[in-house]
Amino acid sequence: MTATGWAGADRRLAAPREFFSAVSTIMVKELRSRMRGRRAFVVLTVYLGLLALIAYGIYTVVAPSARNQAAFGFGGPTFANASAIIGQTIFSLLSVFQLILVCFIAPAFTAGQISLEREKQTLDLLISTPMRPGAIVAGKLLAALAFVGLMIVAAIPISAIVLMYGGASIDDIVRQQVVLLATALGFGAVGLFFSALLKRTQIATVLTYCTVLAFTLGTVMLFIFWTVLVTRDATNVGPLGPTQRAPEQIVYLNPMVGMLDVVANTEPGGGGGIASMMNQLRGTPGVDPTLGGAGGQVCKGNVCFAADQFGNPIGNVAIDPGPIVPQAVGGYFWPRFVITFGALAILLTIASARLVIPAPMRFAFRRRRRGLPPLPEGPMTAEAGSRVASPIVDEIPSPADD
């Protein structure tokens, strides 16, 4: 063992490597203790079992009515259509359920990660190592996400049931996965942030779930109230223009909107109601505003119908879709949600990294960034305060020298 031999490498080149090595160090340790024993596998099994049960439940409920709907509803009585309705309903509800579960599970894995280290008095040992706080925090977040990611990915086969029925494509499943992972990332970062901010895990957990509620329910309520406020005097009950609505950016923060948008994007028109809901949020309830005219259209597949302002089809006579393409009903919100949550996660991770350092020590790191004095080449002598040329490591014999 030579004293600090590795530390002599060129720091500039070594910095990124050191960062990622620290991230992987934390990940390995976290995953080692997380995947140990039965707990992780029980959680995974329960999660998958629950989803499978939900999928089966949806099927038994929806299958008979789907056949009825196919027989008497739009598009003529075809088996293909009935099957698509079943597939689509399973996909929609499964996506929403999975999203709800992820909203609960992801913060649970991160809300204690820093505060528990504080409570168990292990944080001092960790931050007295040369690892950057950013690497510690990123490692913790990624370790939590690795497990949540495993749960999400392990559930793909259940979502893939819909491929047997139709109604949702592989693309839809990929989008669903992207939204789920973005949700896990964002809410995981929220949990980590509160965990780094607060001393007590309990309070961090409570505040994390409050934030999750604010994002999932609060944003929609805010959007609705805001819209009501700005439109209460308006006599126009037709599609609301952008100036008459709350800024739609509010709902970019809502994973549920992102997921419903994915659902709305599925082939047979996204379950009508959901698609029109998305269009409500966008201020284009099934109609291209350039067409003008009251009411609008709603499209199922390639067939469009006249629609009221809520996007509900009026009658069952197909009309000319005009310039509206069927895909226009969905695919708008989810990419925006994913980008917003990605940015949120990055910001919160950076903030958490600052908070991991004990408050009084933060200034030292600030000083580091504003041009720090050069590292002394040798130790300071007591008498004159002058630098000694030889590095200290040469003066202290290492055990290997003995």
Partner: protein
């Protein structure tokens, strides 16, 4: 001698409360320096500053000549720090625990396996390599934590109360390990509020109380600087009368305090316990004078005042100074 640890006018204030009030420490390479003081004296604060976990309010601290506030990360690479209170990741195995910290310090994979074996050997946990940390006894955890400070082979060890809460046997083991580490050339700063613990192994001692370093140096130096009222054990041959006359003779010396006649419970012999205000030279002179005066001195032993006495004396003096 180049100091490995150096503090200059170190001050730390918590909410207006002075925890460390201007400490100047100079510790050379290869020393085991004991920081002794009652609880709340400022030992832990000083050590935390040196371990880059707390910034000083004023003053400077250097480890291996590197400022702890300007280059904390560089300092961390050179020190191994063991806090007074710490937790362990109990869902890890012993070797995984050390492996984790070795990775934290960037020790290459090729070196880790061998090094973990060596460290477990040093702290005597080789047979617990695959045990879970939670199954370890307190003493074992303490030794494991000590091992974790060594994973990156630091030049300096900062150990805050490494033997606190250990039974006597575990204390002895801990002491042996520290001695072994000193043999490996490490500079060790160790704190304790239990003084005899440090007396045997430290090359230097700093006595700290209420944030001030009251005395610093080797135990002998401190003793000398105190012109310690040494406690002499004097055996005089002859009957009780001879003993009494020796006692009376000693009583005439102004440097001698109240002489006690004690009987040793082990052999039943009676001897004199003489508090004597004078250094080694004066003690030798006293013995010579005593023999010249015709007292048949059979034993004249210098009951070395141990750290505990020194400590009580130093902090006692401080109290007197403050009372005056």
């Amino acid at each position: 001698m180049t100091p490995v640890i150096e503090t200059r006018g170190l001050v730390k204030r918590y909410d207006g409360e002075l925890a460390v009030a201007g400490i100047d420490l100079v510790i050379g390479p290869g020393e085991i320096f004991g920081l002794v003081g009652p609880n709340g004296a400022g030992k832990t604060t000083t050590m935390k500053i040196l371990a880059t976990l707390l910034p000083p309010t004023a003053g400077e601290a250097f480890v291996c000549g590197i400022s702890v506030t300007e280059h904390p990360i560089e300092v961390r690479r050179r020190i191994g720090y063991m806090p007074d209170f710490y937790g362990v990741y109990d869902d890890l195995r012993v070797w995984e625990y050390l492996d984790f910290f070795a990775r934290c310090y960037g020790v290459p994979a090729a070196r880790r396996a061998g090094m973990i074996g060596e460290l477990l050997e040093i702290v005597g946990l080789s047979d617990r390599r695959r045990s879970y940390v939670e199954t370890l006894s307190r003493g074992m955890r303490q030794r494991l934590c000590l091992a974790h400070t060594l994973v990156h082979d630091p030049a300096v060890l900062i150990l805050d109360e490494p033997a606190s809460g250990l039974d006597p046997r575990a204390r002895v083991e801990m002491r042996e390990i520290l001695r072994e580490l000193r043999g490996m050339g490490k500079t060790i700063l160790v704190s304790s509020h239990i003084l005899p613990e440090l007396a045997e192994m430290c090359t230097g001692v700093g006595i700290i109380d209420r944030g001030r370093l009251l005395r610093s140096g080797s135990i002998n130096e401190i003793e000398r600087s105190l012109r310690a009222t040494a406690l002499l054990n004097i055996d005089v041959l002859g009957d009780a009368e001879a003993l009494a006359s020796a006692r009376d003779w000693l009583g005439t010396d102004p440097r001698v305090g109240d002489v006690l006649m004690t009987s040793d419970p082990s052999d039943g012999a009676t001897r004199l316990e003489v508090p004597f205000d004078g250094g080694a030279d004066e003690q030798a002179a006293l013995l010579a004078a005593m023999v010249q005066a015709g007292h048949r001195v059979s034993a004249f032993s210098h009951a070395t005042s141990d750290l505990e006495e020194i400590f009580l004396k130093v902090t006692g003096q401080q109290d007197q100074v403050e009372a005056a």
